[in-house]
Every structure is written in structure tokens, then in C-alpha cells.
Symmetry: C2
Subunit: 206 residues, 2 copies
């Protein structure tokens, strides 16, 4: 079936955002940890983490604008601006329901860690909480941001400061075994997947 | 195990880029179709497609700079600039090896479609080729780009003009069944995965 631009625009809001959130394919499922001036640790699920480069190691996340409708990503944005640090924590298959629940609109004074039953893990000198239940954890410092004019979203860029990985998941060639680490893949807004390796292919040559 | 910043920086180049390309988690596997002023259809595998918004439907891809070392993404960048259109085509599990092979450094005059054995599919008025073997295809027009100062990469933003989906994969609520469509997930640079649904969760409420 084909959906034209006018058919996409004619869809009602929820089915359209459900569909468009799925069309890029499988996505990462990560919890972003941060803390604000009020001292409340914040945790929010994101599927927009994107690799930007390896030397230096730079990752991006896409957030809603600060004046937008979704409070949670506003907290993440505000907190990262406040102290310059954040964490990216893989959603493990045993914590999918708690991770998904962080997307509920908790009030400012409630920490999503407590609300959903996940455990903040602090590592000096990083000024942002990791998620203890995650098996792959990334500590980052904020580098720069780009305000995307086309729809008033923000690309926030962080530099990797440290990585915490489960023993046995990383080989000497740098291969990270996400399946062994128990990370899940996300499609759309709500569907979490386990994986099976189909092919591991060599570097492509002519 | 923990990798500190100095340990990450001390890694040799290939293991570091192999690792850092995997740390965000599972990624989409897409072929970007484009065509340049020379009339040669170009096809390149990307794992950086990111959802930016649903109304209008906007997606981003991250490319290397035009003066960078990797020719293929230079072609994609140059072609999208040339005529303003591109396509995003999901990698289906039956075409993983051909899709991966598009990352080989073919010379300018060689179309990756021919070189890897995939079929260009043209739909008026889109000035970019789809991949006939893909089951989920997205036609886009270029909207704007952001040059990321931190590492001289480019975020290119496209607006969805049309979607082609396999029959039966989209329900009335907008849910797109990527498993039924046969799309694969990618980890790192070279490992392609099939998936199994673990959980589909309701919209989170307090």
C-alpha cells in the first residue's frame, strides 16, 4: 500500500504519530539520567540516540523544545543545561515495563527512579545518575545543541566520558555483544523486541 | 568493566570505532537512494536515521562531511543537494548481504544498485530511486541541514512525501509491524538481527 503526503496529513494525530515514529525501523531503547537544580534525579526513555562520531566519541539525542507540551523531555533538557552531564542507560529486557513507565507525566518533585522502581547509581565525578539495573551505561558531558527550525526540536550532543559494560560482552576487536548484554530494540512508541543474530558481515570491499 | 575516557582515547582506531558505533544500542538498517547530476543512481547503507517529528513528518540522517574520507556518504550528500530528493528503504532480511555491500568504495561511475544486485524503482515525481527489494520505502524531500561543529558531520533533514508499506503491516491505530515487514535491526557496523516482540505496552499514565 502507498500513503501519499495528503493521506499522511489527513490521518488523525495519534495514528499518524504512531506510524511516523515507526517508519525509520528498529530503534535503541535508552533511559536518559539527569539531575536538576532542585536535586530531583530525572529519568526519561528516549529512542533517538544517534552515533555522530568515534574520535571523539560523540552521541546525539533529540528532545522536544523547552516550551513544548511534553514535560519529561523538558526536564532532561533543563537538567543537562544546568550541570552539563547526563547518562544513557540501555533498557535491559528485565526492566522494559519500568523503563516505559518513565514516560508518564510525573510532577516536578517526583523522581522517576522512585516512581518506577529503578535505582540511581552515582559515580564521581559525573553529575548525573546512572541506572543500576542497566547493563550498558554511558556517562556524557554536554557539548553543544542545534535548534532544528523545521519543527522546533533540539539535537543535544554529548561526548562520552566513560562506559560501563557487562563482563564478557566486549572482545578485543571492539565488538560489543548487545544480545549477551540483554539490551532490547524498540519499534514505534511502545513495542520492545528481543533479537537474534542473522548475519555478521566482513568489512565490504570491491 | 569500566572504560574511562583515557582508556577509550588510548584504544586503536578500528576497535574504538567498532565499539562506539555499537554503544547507542540497536539501530535501523536503511538504504539511502539518490541520484546525482551524472545520472548515476547511488545507494548507501545508513544506520543513523532518526525520527524528528510527525506533523510534519520529519526524519534526519547523519552524513560525513563532503570533504571527508568516505566517498559513499559524500555521494549521498552531494546528490541530495543536487535535486532535493532522497529515499529511505528498510533492509529486509533477504537482502542483508547486498545492502551491506553498498558500503564498499565503488568508483563514481558505478551504481551500487548494479554492483550489489538491487533494483532501482522510480515513482513520479520523486527524483530519487527506491529499492524494489525493500518492503518499507520512504520518499523524502530535503528540508535543511545542520553542520555539527564538534566533529564536522552533517545532520540532513527530510520531510516525508510518501510511504510504501507491505499490505497487512499497518493497522487502523497506526501501528506498523516491522517484524511482519521483515525489517532487520543493526548493531555496530556489521551485525544484523532478526527480532521477536517481548512487550507491547500501553501509553504510560501516573
Amino acid at each position: 500500500m502507498t500513503l501519499t503526503l495528503s493521506e499522511i496529513e489527513a490521518m488523525s494525530r495519534i495514528p499518524r504519530l504512531t506510524l511516523i515514529n515507526a517508519i525509520t525501523g528498529y530503534k535503541s531503547a535508552n533511559l536518559i539520567g539527569s539531575i536538576g537544580a532542585d536535586g530531583v534525579p530525572n529519568l526519561a526513555i528516549f529512542s533517538s540516540a544517534v552515533h555522530l562520531g568515534s574520535d571523539p566519541a560523540l552521541l546525539g539525542i533529540v528532545t522536544r523544545p523547552v516550551d513544548g507540551a511534553i514535560k519529561l523531555t523538558r526536564h532532561t533538557y533543563r537538567n543537562i543545561h544546568h550541570n552539563g552531564h547526563f547518562t544513557i542507560n540501555h533498557v535491559h529486557h528485565s526492566m522494559v515495563e519500568a523503563a516505559h513507565q518513565t514516560s508518564a507525566p510525573y510532577p516536578d518533585e517526583v523522581s522517576e527512579f522512585e516512581a518506577v522502581g529503578l535505582t540511581p547509581l552515582w559515580r564521581d565525578p559525573l553529575k548525573a545518575p546512572y541506572v543500576a539495573e542497566s547493563r550498558i551505561r554511558i556517562g556524557l558531558e554536554f557539548v553543544e545543541e542545534y535548534h532544528i527550525k523545521a519543527n522546533n526540536t533540539i539535537l543535544m550532543i554529548g561526548r562520552v566520558l566513560e562506559l560501563e559494560l557487562p563482563d564478557g560482552c566486549l572482545d578485543e576487536a571492539g565488538n560489543l555483544d548487545l544480545k549477551m548484554a540483554g539490551s532490547v530494540a524498540l519499534s514505534g512508541l511502545d513495542t520492545y523486541h528481543d533479537t537474534q543474530v542473522l548475519h555478521r558481515l566482513p568489512y565490504a570491499r570491491i
